[in-house]
Each structure stands twice: as structure tokens, then as C-alpha cells.
């Protein structure tokens, strides 16, 4: 068993350190190429999970902001006062210096705020991760990739619902460093689509990245299945717990953006 080996061999720690540095270096290279740090907004009601996620992200050289609820996330992004998210222009036209659509202008209190990725827990009191996702996708922050996390095996209809609601991926907690490597792909995508107060890319890039994302998802799903089935046995925590059934894989491949599908 993997664990027996690693606990037997203290030298293993060193190898693990090296592995840890790889995603960190890749992230740093990616960020240095672009000349800035990725900023991740993490939303989770669990103080333990916030601390863990913060550490995971910082070790990978990302800037992190943690909030403990969907409401706080919306507040941070300047969305809380927007009842009708599509008409942000009415309250924020003064802060927009670009001739582009109003969809990228923020309320004046969050001018210049850059968020490259939002990671949210699914199951939270009050506003759920799914509710937050829908609010985000209907707002000026809709182009920021969102990853939804859950601490338990949710039925596939729920994870599919999130994906169809616009989430990039649905991940099982607790997250590990290897999960952050997948996230990097979404972050790099977000650089091209970064929704700041300045400007926004055209839809052509969206299409390109959609097909890239589909490929990424296929790769991810395959590797997830290889890692072992998500067993309901409580004792089997050693295997990676992110495998999806083949049924899930096929359902996830077609990425339906902006289309509400009744399940």
C-alpha cells in the first residue's frame, strides 16, 4: 500500500517535496510569463477547509482571498447590490473606461479587482455553491472560471447540473496538490478572458478554450478513472476519490454553456 511505503521511508518526504515544487514552479512560470499572480477567490463555510485551500493555493504561488459564504463572495466582487445582474451598466457606467459591453464593468467599489478563478464549496448554509455559480454566471464576472467542490460523493445529476450551470469542474474534497495542477489550466484560460475593468476578449477565444476544456475534461476523467473507483467503503480512503462512472464521463463531455437543461 502506498501509505506503508511512505511511512516506512522518511527519505520519501524529500521526493514528495520535489513533487510539490513542480506545480509551484509551473505556476510561477505561467504567472511570470504573464507578468502577474493569479488571484483565486475561495468560498467555503468550513474554517478547516478554508485554511487548507488557502495553503494549497499559496504553496502553488497563487494569491488567495478566502470568504466564508456565497454572500460574502458576492459582496467582495461588488455584486451584492445588483438585483438584476444584467443591468450592471446602470450603477457602474461611470467606472467603465472601455467602449466594450457593460458586462465587464464593476460597481465602483471593486474597480480594478482582478479574480482569475473562483473555487466554491457546494454545500453551504444559506447560498449554496450552485446558487453562487448561477449568480456569477449571470453577472459581469461570468467569464471567470468557477470550480465547485464537495466533501462527499454527490449524485452525478448534481455535478452535471453544476457543469451545465457553467462550472469548469466539480472536485471532491479534501483537495490535494495534484488537483491544483488541473486548476492551472483554467487559470491560464482565464488570462485570455480576464474580466477586469479594462477590456475583454472576443468570443472567438471562448470557442477555442471551450474545445480545449473539453479535451482537458476527457483527459481528467480518464485519469480519474485510472486512480480507482470512488468507493462507498469508508475504509478505502487510500485510493483517489475523484473517479466518475463512465456514465458521468459521457454526460460531461458536451459542454453546454448558457443553456439550462432540466434534469
Amino acid at each position: 500500500m502506498e501509505l506503508m511505503k511512505s511511512s516506512d521511508n522518511i527519505i520519501q518526504d524529500r521526493t514528495q517535496q520535489q513533487h510539490k515544487q513542480e506545480p509551484e514552479m509551473q505556476a510561477q512560470e505561467g504567472q511570470q510569463e504573464q507578468g502577474h499572480h493569479f488571484h483565486v477567490l475561495a468560498v467555503d463555510d468550513s474554517v478547516i477547509d478554508r485554511k487548507l485551500l488557502e495553503k494549497l493555493l499559496k504553496v502553488s504561488s497563487y494569491q488567495v482571498t478566502c470568504v466564508d459564504s456565497g454572500d460574502k463572495a458576492l459582496e467582495y466582487l461588488g455584486l451584492l447590490n445588483n438585483l438584476d445582474s444584467d443591468s450592471t451598466a446602470s450603477s457602474s457606467s461611470s467606472s467603465s473606461s472601455s467602449s466594450n459591453s457593460s458586462s465587464c464593468s464593476q460597481s465602483s467599489q471593486r474597480e480594478g479587482l482582478k479574480v482569475n478563478l473562483i473555487m466554491t464549496d457546494f454545500c453551504m448554509p444559506g447560498m449554496s455553491g450552485y446558487d453562487l455559480l448561477k449568480r456569477l454566471k449571470g453577472s459581469s464576472w461570468k467569464d471567470v472560471p468557477v470550480v465547485v467542490m464537495s466533501s462527499e460523493n454527490v449524485p452525478s445529476r448534481i455535478s452535471i447540473r453544476c457543469l451545465e450551470g457553467g462550472a469548469e469542474e466539480f472536485m471532491l474534497k479534501p483537495l490535494q496538490l495534484s488537483d491544483l495542477e488541473k486548476i492551472e489550466a483554467y487559470l491560464l484560460k482565464s488570462l485570455h478572458l480576464s474580466c477586469t475593468n479594462i477590456d475583454k476578449d472576443d468570443d472567438d477565444n471562448n470557442a477555442d478554450h471551450n474545445s480545449d476544456n473539453n479535451n482537458d475534461k476527457v483527459v481528467n476523467n480518464d485519469s480519474n478513472i485510472d486512480k480507482g473507483n470512488n468507493s462507498t467503503s469508508m475504509n478505502n480512503n487510500f485510493s483517489k476519490r475523484k473517479a466518475l462512472s463512465s456514465e458521468d464521463t459521457e454526460s460531461r463531455r458536451p459542454k453546454i454553456k448558457g443553456l439550462a437543461v432540466a434534469i
Binding site: 502506498e2 517535496q17 468550513s46 474554517v47 478547516i48 477547509d49 466533501s151 469508508m234 475504509n235
Partner: protein
């Protein structure tokens, strides 16, 4: 005991925590996240867990003692508790929580109450073991500086 001897002893303690099923691979992930910038990360997050879970335990006790038992609320608390214990790699505690949630879903008050005693026991046992483990590591660190 010299530095090397202590390291050996600590490695044994650590190994037994895994062998006896108290910890799982998630704990190793925590260790991997610890670095020079944050040399006490594992201890910090474990401490945070015990502070947070103590609060949850109290809430669960209150809910179990009320009549009629609010199973939905119970499940919410236990979901949080299980999530946190899973995040730090507390294997036995997490397992017991999963069992509890099954009883809770079935509305089986007696089984919930019984099972909750197991959870508290495992929770306390792990705490003692980890406290001892961290204490040994602290001593080893001091020994190394001599």
C-alpha cells in the same frame, strides 16, 4: 536520547498512527504543505480542527438531547464534522461520522446516540495521540539545536 534516536522514535509513532488506521493519506498531504514559511502548519490545522470540532460536538449533543430530535439539523452538523475530520486525515473519526449519518438518515435515534459515543471516543483518542506526536517532534527539534 540523541537526535537520531528521537527521529527514529517519531517515525515509529507516525507509522503506527497510519498502521492502526487513525490517519489516512490526507494527513500526508498536510505534511507536504508544511514548509519553512509555515513550519507548524500541520499542528496549526489540527489545533484548529479540535477547536472547531469541539464546538460541533457540543451542538450535536444539544440536538441529540432535545425531543423530538431534529435529524436534519443533526445531519448538517455531522456533515460539517465529517468534512473537517476528512480534511485533516482523521480516518477513524471520519468513518464513524459516515456511520452516524446513515443512522441519522434512517431516523434511528438510539443508534445515533450510541454511535456518537464512539465518535467522541475516537475524537479524544486521536487528539491525545497527535498531541503526543507533536510534543515528541517539538522535543526533537530542541534536541537538534543543541
Amino acid at each position: 536520547m540523541d537526535g537520531y534516536g528521537m527521529q527514529n522514535q517519531i517515525a515509529c509513532i507516525r507509522r503506527s498512527l497510519f498502521d492502526q488506521g487513525y490517519l489516512d493519506e490526507q494527513f500526508i498531504q498536510l505534511e507536504e504543505l508544511q514548509d519553512d514559511a509555515n513550519p507548524n502548519f500541520v499542528q496549526e490545522i489540527v489545533t484548529l480542527f479540535y477547536t472547531d470540532s469541539t464546538r460541533l460536538i457540543q451542538n450535536i449533543e444539544l440536538t441529540l438531547n432535545s425531543r423530538p430530535i431534529n435529524f436534519s439539523k443533526l445531519d448538517d452538523y455531522m456533515h460539517q464534522f465529517k468534512g473537517s475530520s476528512s480534511s485533516i486525515g482523521a480516518k477513524k473519526v471520519t468513518s464513524e461520522c459516515a456511520v452516524f449519518r446513515q443512522y441519522c438518515a434512517a431516523g434511528n435515534a438510539e443508534a445515533c446516540i450510541r454511535n456518537f459515543q464512539h465518535i467522541k471516543q475516537e475524537h479524544a483518542i486521536l487528539r491525545k495521540k497527535l498531541e503526543f506526536y507533536f510534543q515528541m517532534m517539538g522535543q526533537a527539534a530542541v534536541a537538534q539545536t543543541r
